[in-house]
Symmetry: C2
């Protein structure tokens, strides 16, 4: 298992599809940001799905860590986090 | 020292000021994302500066880890990273 923080910057023509893919694997935490625990296999699947969709001008960043315990998280302002998306 | 990933979602009326503050302390890596190594003291200063500026509808997420070595980073698509901003 790995813990993943994903931040995307995607052209508006493709952003709905990217959101849909990310929600299958991770939890939405803020505009442009998802995070969650996943298997290495699912991370590969997620990257493959995104790879087929995104274009050169898009960008997706993955921060991958063995465990959530490796970092502290702090939110300032409105916390927009939603519950875990079961799908 | 800590290594910080910062992701913001800020109303457009305030986003230029937030960018300016973040650039004083961190490196811009993608739209809405900064990261970098900083002292605990500078992290407090950064949070204080942002705290005075942002409103309830804004959101800033901090992922704080003792060392950059705690995570792997992967970029898909265009890599938009700029050099370290000295200011």
């Amino acid at each position: 298992m790995v813990y993943v923080i994903l931040v995307y910057d995607i052209d508006e023509n493709r952003v709905a599809k990217v959101l849909k893919i990310c929600r299958k694997y991770l939890t939405w935490v803020q505009r442009s940001v998802f995070e969650g625990e996943m298997t290495d296999g699912n991370l590969e699947l997620l990257q493959a799905e995104l790879g087929r969709l995104i274009k050169d001008e898009d960008s997706v960043l993955f921060y991958i860590t063995p465990t959530k315990k490796n970092f502290k998280k702090k939110t300032m302002g409105k916390s927009k986090e939603e519950g875990r998306n079961i799908l």
